[in-house]
């Protein structure tokens, strides 16, 4: 398959097309995904970057790309924005901050919309990450707005997660505290030159019980001036090394494999299930669902 060969040589067009075929659930997708270089995928590092809108995620991502390029790494970025629930359309604008790298063939950027599917995006984004890794990207960054469950699921695809915050988002931080602790490996206070940064650092610092742990995992940056980004990247690489040694990385990948498999299975079953739902049913939805699952089970055992 020529597309597959070109993709592994790092050809932009083939990478872009392969991701589209997966995203559009084209029949060719399975063959592409089955043919990806597994060694490259295993050796790649997948970093999730998330946080509320407006904290500077894209600027921080662009800065990290620059530092990774200085280390001569090939970098992939999957930038995810929400689809409009009304029209199904989306404006994908994360690329604007990354245009400095537009002509660099070793920086692969793909913007994706959530397309309103429950979890379904998780499957497409995971495939995009692996296609980029197979094309030779040593580091792949998934950037997404961290507000809802879908985003949480996407971040679970990553080997590690960086949560970006900024002063002036106080109430959001309160609301996110539980979530932050569960998913973030690194907390980055961006726009750290602005008033309120110290208070935010204090608030977030209280989340850690161990001060040594806090000093390792809580960082400050001014991404627009390239301040503190080298430190963020150092910590990411240090953590990656540690995660490989203590098997965290393998465990997380196994978990995301299960998660993605579930998503694909649901995505494949969806049309069938939707065909079995009787319009205007009078019983409880819970009962109707039970009937459908029973029917699906009978079909598969025949």
């Amino acid at each position: 398959m020529e597309l597959l060969q070109q993709l592994h040589r790092g050809d932009s067009r083939s990478i872009g097309r392969a991701i589209s075929l997966v995203e559009d659930q084209d029949p060719a997708a399975a063959r592409i995904l089955a043919g990806l270089d597994q060694t490259r995928i295993e050796q790649s590092l997948v970093v999730g970057i998330t946080g509320p809108p407006g904290v500077g995620k894209s600027t921080l991502t662009a800065g990290l790309i620059r530092h990774l390029r200085d280390q001569n790494q090939r970098v992939g970025i999957v930038a995810i924005d929400p689809s409009s629930p009304v029209s199904g359309g989306a404006i994908l604008g994360d690329r604007i901050r990354m245009m400095a790298h537009a002509l660099d063939r070793e920086v692969v950027v793909r913007s994706m919309a959530t397309r309103g599917r429950l979890g379904g995006l998780c499957a497409s984004a995971g495939a995009a990450v692996r296609i980029m890794a197979a094309s030779g990207c040593q580091t792949v960054i998934i950037e997404t707005v961290g507000v809802g469950q879908t985003e949480m699921d996407i971040i679970r695809l990553a080997d590690m997660t960086v949560m970006v915050l900024a002063p002036g988002f106080g109430d959001d931080v309160q609301a996110m505290k539980a979530g932050i602790l569960e998913v973030a490996d690194l907390l980055v206070i961006n726009k750290a030159d602005q008033p309120g940064a110290d208070k935010l650092a204090l608030d977030l610092g209280a989340v850690f019980t161990d001060t040594a742990d806090r000093d390792l995992r809580l960082l400050r940056t001014v991404a627009s001036e390239d301040r503190g980004l080298d430190m963020v990247l150092d910590r990411i690489m240090l953590m990656a090394k540690q995660f490989r040694q203590d098997n965290t990385l393998q465990k997380r990948r196994q978990h995301s494999f299960a998660l993605e498999t579930m998503d694909w299975a649901m995505e494949m079953l969806r049309p069938k299930i939707s065909g079995l739902i009787a319009p205007g049913g009078k019983t409880d939805p819970r009962l109707a669902a039970q009937e459908i699952v029973k029917k699906l089970g009978q079909e598969s055992s025949q």
Partner: protein
Amino acid sequence: MAQQYRVLIGKPGLDGHDRGAKFIARALRDAGFEVVYTGIRRTAEEIAASAVQEDVAAVGLSSMSGGHVRLFPAVIEALRNAGAGDIPVLGGGIIPDEDIEPLKQAGIEAIFTPGTPIETIIEAFRSACRKHHSHRS
């Protein structure tokens, strides 16, 4: 599931008036398109490279400064050089009537001016995308 079309809206050249580009981007989003917006002051090569990586089915260009005569065909040329000459390019902005025919000759699929109804623009993008998708794989 209905086919989801991805398009890129870009502004080549030094002109920083992006109101038109953003208006079109929002209108396309509201019509169900996924719109990759690359912002102002881009070179033809940057727009072409982005269109290739994003695998869009059409590129829309906006110009308000008179640079369209040179810049729109430059994007077509850059797309060809990137091996993506098949991606249709549509253009709009402050474009005098006498420039429209030469731009179409140069390969621009459609040209929109301030009077063009938004429905016409959306339909032109939809038909360009449909055509591109039909011989995609």
